[in-house]
Symmetry: C2
Subunit: 237 residues, 2 copies
């Protein structure tokens, strides 16, 4: 819009996505440096839409990762260690060994509801923490209701959203938009609807994208000659 509304930052991400949580920290640092309020919108992206509600408890993380990437247990452990170290550098305490993988569709529906309620950002943070630090099963409705309540949302209304199909089309619509843009990895940031960054990029690059988008948002191109207007001195006839 041409008026001075806040710059929008849309972030496609999943809950079960360590780089997305790191990306959130980097975005927060970038916005602080940018020095202006922005309107952060968390958009849905399921890394594994076909994921079952939960996985058997007896399969540990290292085995899962080793299986998934065709690595040795040692190779998988190294991956986890590296990611944990990156987390520490960004003020995040990952506890992957506790993580309970599951489908995130309902968590995304809840995030869309939270957006209407003005607490999407807080719920997003709470979900990252629940999944990647506290070993909570974020596909479970009781868990989701508790997490919603933790950020001040009404638990009864959260339960109603979860037991309905509400906001499913919003999740699908975000994912369709991701498809249109060719997004195949998250986090994926779009600044002012125009400039995109893929991945948990360095803070400085995020700041640059914010500044670029701001400059762009206020640039209006006048096309054509001025003609047939009314002004304070009257109408051109």
């Amino acid at each position: 819009m041409a008026d001075s509304s806040k710059l929008s930052v849309e972030v496609w991400s999943d809950i079960a996505c360590p780089w997305c949580w790191v990306g959130k920290r980097k975005l927060e640092a970038a916005v602080a440096q940018f020095g202006e309020d922005v309107d952060v919108v968390w958009r849905s992206f399921e890394l594994d839409p076909a994921a079952p509600k939960s996985l058997p408890d007896d399969v540990d993380l290292t085995s899962r990762l080793a299986d998934k990437y065709g690595k040795s247990r040692e190779g998988a452990e190294q991956m986890v260690d590296r990611m944990t170290a990156v987390g520490q550098d960004n003020g995040i305490e990952f506890r992957f060994e506790q993580a309970r993988p599951g489908n995130t569709f309902d968590a995304h529906r809840l995030l869309h509801w939270a957006s209407n309620e003005g607490t999407q950002n807080a719920l997003k943070e709470r979900l990252f923490e629940a999944y990647m630090q506290q070993g909570k099963l974020v596909s479970d409705h009781e868990v989701l209701v508790e997490l919603a309540a933790d950020v001040g949302l009404d638990p009864e209304r959260a339960q109603l959203v979860l037991s309905s199909n509400d906001y499913a089309s919003d999740v699908r619509s975000d994912e369709a938009a991701a498809g249109t843009m060719g997004i195949h990895g998250v986090p994926f940031f779009v600044f002012g609807g125009r400039f995109a960054l893929s991945g948990a990029q360095p803070v400085q690059l995020l700041v640059q994208a914010l500044e670029k988008a701001k400059e762009d948002a206020t640039a209006i191109e006048i096309v054509g000659e001025e003609t047939e207007t009314c002004g304070p001195e009257g109408c051109a006839v």
Copy 2:
């Protein structure tokens, strides 16, 4: 926004502005040709913010125009005739001889309220007609309440808005934005927040601006290399 919301068309204009009504017709024709729904937002611009609530009834239009432009009565009549002919070409029956000039600030406040109610476009049309065809004094609160009711708005709530100072800051904010953009004549169209046209331009130019804005809205520039993302196959570590 990066998602597929409708293209916005913001139009700065005043009620007391023949070219603005003509511009509205041209925009309607352009949108029909463009073939997609757009989100038209009528933004406030007072041609004469210092105008009194009404002018004495005994000064006729031709004298006013002659005075204003330093023309003879004959020259002023020719201007009116030309503008009337332009109106006819665009399906508008101007009856300037009946027009009752007055301050339009409250009409603009009412338009901002109507925007919340989803009937801004209908009220804008009704105001043009009332002022430039039906000789109604659009600074008069009783008149404004009737016009609001004509387009389905609640007369009691319209009265409440008028007797308060509600939406005054919205009018000022539109006018401040106009100032920032250097708008000195209306109608002034901004398409998708990026491309502007000044004046009641030919339909074909408006269509081109709509198409240009549409193309632009879907263009997202990826800045920087992709790095540190999670995808369906796992996270890059």
